[in-house]
Amino acid sequence: MSAPCTHADLVLHALGRLSPRRREEVLAALARDPALAREARAVVAHLALYDQLPLAPEPPPFATLLPRLGAQQRARRSFTAMRVAAALAAVVLVAIGAMLWYGRDEAQFERRSSWVEPGPGLALTRWGGGGALLATGHEPAELRIRGRTRVVLDRHSTLYLYQEDAVGLVGRAWFEVAPGAFRILVAGHQVDVLGTAFELDASLGLLVRVVEGRVRASFSSGEPMGEAGPGETITSAAAPVETDLPGAFARRPQLTLRVASEARAGEPLEVRLTFEAPRLIPVQLPGPAPVASAAWLAFRRPDGSDVTVGLDLANAGPQTLRPGHAEMLEAGQRREIVFRVPLPPGPPGTWRLSALYRPEGEAALASPTVPLLVR
């Protein structure tokens, strides 16, 4: 049951600031309630007015700022001779201390740098003295720690290197940890692992999804949160929302459909279904659900009518998927199954095709639509 649509929702909708889920709920409410739809139009029209606001005056040129920056520097120089001498002495002492401290920081940073092999798109950055961090921009990237632990850092995420076997995370990452103790600190929690592969989302609270091995999570206070094994998750009260967005962290294979660009009515059509793992992490491809049609092809004819044709997985050759048999697809790996199906009767023109696969115990995978010219 969704929350009722409020004035704040209408304003955020008009500003384009609603979350996708809430937007869907608000659109549904608008479709149901004509009075609400009128109010929404009034809010949109009103907020559109503000495009007509006059531009603010130009900011002053940067050159006018320089005297104020310089005045500070001059003020700093207006010491008495005695103060200058005292300051100089202090500076010399501080400089010696700073050199020693900086040298220590430098050595720590160098040491941390030697642990990590950043992949393309990642660079080690100094942080807080001798600290080191790696941050991604709009694309995910991978790195290795001591050549043993592989980390795929999702976009807009930051990994802090504390020790060879201890890192901090803000954002989301996929870990493949070699046997041996390894600890991940996130705000308010810590995660201890012993040789495992799992995804950790620390963008809000904590969410750990384990694929292999075992993971133990606890609060920073030491109070245990729980343990998880393959297929299990650990979440905190304020855990991130489960998403299935495309990208490195779409934890399901992507289904695509390929057919010839043209076909003739009455002739069989060769159809290729391809399951592909994301670029950087492995995923599981479950076998088909135990139903009559676990895979089918949908045709939309030029006149708008639809027809579906079941795909016979049982007789689709050695590459087919079998019920009760899940497979792991390595990062970037593809799995293709070829079918020959009769083209249903219908008028010539451009048809639109899409495929659907129903895996066992999971939501269906749907392919993007492809065109087919029927002559």
Binding site: R17, V43, L53, W127, G168
Partner: protein, 198 residues
């Protein structure tokens, strides 16, 4: 072992948005912290205009807004050596600007008391140019509502960034935006309908 105790990583933003990215602004701010005036100039080129828009809408005083833009950059220059890349540089500048404007407006408050907050409908001139009517309507909002509205609608900032600048939860920000829209619409009457009719 010369390792210090493990520091906790920075807390994620209250909004739950993505962790900050070390973009060009953040890199420039780090260089400004090391005393590079050219880096501050690059930040000025990028951020002075949006800050001017924000401060002008907040103060409705071009001279004061100009002074506050400079004040923001002077304060940022002083504090840059201590800045750490835990948040976006632009968000940090807007926060400084908001504090600077708050101090300036607090000093000026005895003068603004001459205009009671309830002046809404009367304060908008009968038929000035559209832009002036809109600006005058914004001026009738209380400071928290005005800042929220200007940052999101005029400056186009995200809810997460705006909530961080205003140091309020996102829920409070959403309420402020809704209240600002309702008050502005009451002040402007059916101006939107009139514009559509033209």
């Amino acid at each position: 072992m010369d390792d210090p105790p493990l520091p906790a990583p920075p807390a994620p933003r209250a909004s739950g948005g993505p962790a900050p990215v070390l973009g060009p602004d953040e890199a420039a701010l780090l260089r400004a912290g090391r005393g590079e005036v050219a880096a501050l100039e690059a930040l000025y080129a990028r951020l002075a205009r949006p800050l001017m828009t924000f401060l002008h809408a907040l103060t409705h005083d071009a001279t004061l807004a100009e002074d506050l833009v400079q004040e923001t950059f002077v304060r940022a220059w002083q504090a840059a050596p201590r800045w750490e890349p835990r948040a976006k540089a632009s968000t940090w500048f807007f926060t400084i600007a908001r504090h600077a404007a708050g101090h300036a407006l607090a000093k000026r408050r005895p003068l603004t008391l001459a205009h009671p907050p309830e002046r809404a409908a009367q304060a908008v001139p009968p038929s000035p140019e559209l832009g002036e009517r809109l600006a005058a309507a914004i001026e009738t909002l209380s400071e928290p509502l005005r800042a929220a509205f200007v940052l999101v609608r005029v400056n186009g900032l995200s809810l997460a960034d705006t909530a961080e600048i205003l140091e309020v939860p996102e829920g409070t920000l959403k309420s402020r935006l809704a209240a600002a829209e309702a008050r502005l619409r009451a002040t402007l009457g059916d101006l939107a309908g009139e514009q559509e009719a033209r």
